[in-house]
Amino acid sequence: MPKMLLIATVAAISAAIAAVPLAAPKNVASTAKPAAAKPAAETIVAIKDFAFAPPILTVKAGATLVWRNDDDEPHSIVSGDQRSGALDKGDTYASTFATPGTFDYRCGLHPFMKGKVVVTP
């Protein structure tokens, strides 16, 4: 499996973080609440009811995906040796996909939860 390229590992959906997405602390889950000021360039994958929505997503190379946990239970994103760490409710995790390919991932806490990102040139 091609390695998921992580640039901004964690980003909150807030104006402050959106202004400097690459400066987000690495591997630290933000506790910021989801806010209305959603960066236009990011695509949200909701984690809800023990499922990723949408479970399969196709994006252009260079796109940033943001996973947001809407469940009371913690979830995480694991793809190969890339791990988000546990996301509490409202926490987000961002990953920028620089190279084309197919990236399968699961929740590290509930590995029956599966998702896939297809990155096109």
Partner: protein
């Protein structure tokens, strides 16, 4: 095993239970040669080893299913000290914390520091949920091998701590891995087949409900290495409910949580916490006492509502 022997074992177990006043659900596991119990019940106590199991304390959980996991864990920890017969030590079968945060590990360590018994830990997936997966190993991995597995002997019983929460199988199940299975093979190679074996791990080592990941993908390889033993008791947590399976001389028991119950396999859309009326919660939480005799183990689960 004949009914007579089964009955004798049950009577024996009930006698222990009466002495222990633990209440709750009781099973009798007879592996190896249960005849010994039936013929010499008076001597059976002499070599018995009693220990306890606690599981899925989930320090840091804070949701309607239990708004006070510290309180319920504390109640269970106090009960561990009061078990009759006295527990020689305690096994914690994982999910010590809810999501591996330092303050959660600190709270757990503080709670267990009140206990005057040794506690042997294995991690749950909630204990290795930090991105680097170092928090649990740093605190509890000092005397372990590989990803945290180890074994020890007590009163002639061989205890094996297995770790099945780092990574997962292709099917999204728990995973032991080739290195751990190779270690297990060496670990038991020198043991007589009459040595009672107790295995403990977080995720079930039998297929409880693979659709929810309640199984370990390569557990059959590990259990296969233990088939020659006359008494194998396999304890796990993870699913927050008491379930049992017997395969020949190998018996599997999943344990209650001290934090919150989960639905029966497939009984809900997902395995998230089962929300009960507050008054019913203590009856869904608990701890376990195990008495290992030369050819059998007695399992007694008690609920927080009874202690």
């Amino acid at each position: 095993m004949t009914d007579e022997h089964r009955g004798a074992s049950r009577r024996e177990a009930l006698r222990c239970m009466t002495a222990g006043a633990a209440g709750g659900v009781l099973w009798v596991m007879s592996g190896g040669v249960p005849v010994a119990l039936a013929k010499t019940p008076g001597h059976a106590h002499a070599k018995a080893l009693a220990f306890a199991q606690i599981s899925d304390t989930h320090f840091g959980f804070n949701a309607p299913a239990n708004m006070d996991v510290t309180g319920t864990a504390h109640k269970a920890i106090v009960a561990l000290s009061a078990l009759k017969p006295s527990a020689a030590f305690v096994l914690h079968t994982g999910d010590l914390t809810h999501n591996s945060k330092p303050e959660q590990f600190d709270a757990a360590a503080m709670a267990f520091s009140a206990l005057k018994l040794d506690v042997h830990y294995v991690p749950g997936e909630h204990d290795v949920a930090d991105a680097e997966q170092t928090a649990f190993k740093t605190r509890y991995g000092a005397k372990t091998k590989g990803d945290g597995w180890y074994s020890f002997d007590h009163s002639g019983v061989h205890f094996i701590a297995l770790v099945n929460v780092y990574g997962f199988s292709k099917d999204g199940l728990g995973n032991l891995g080739a290195a751990q299975i190779a270690w297990l093979k060496d670990d038991v190679a020198h043991l007589s087949s009459s040595t009672p074996i107790v295995v403990f791990a977080h995720v079930p080592l039998w297929a409880v409900y693979p659709q929810w990941g309640w199984a370990t993908g390569d557990s059959a390889e590990a259990i296969g290495l233990l088939r020659r033993f006359g008494s194998v008791t396999v304890l796990n947590g993870h699913i927050h409910q008491v379930l049992q399976k017997v395969e020949g001389d190998v018996s599997f028991y999943s344990a209650l949580s001290t934090a919150y119950p989960q639905p029966a396999p497939g009984a809900a859309p997902n395995p998230g916490p089962k929300l009960l009326p507050a008054a019913e919660l203590p009856a869904a939480l608990g701890l376990r006492s195990v008495v290992v005799k030369p050819h059998a183990a007695l399992i007694a689960d008690s609920h927080l509502s009874e202690i």
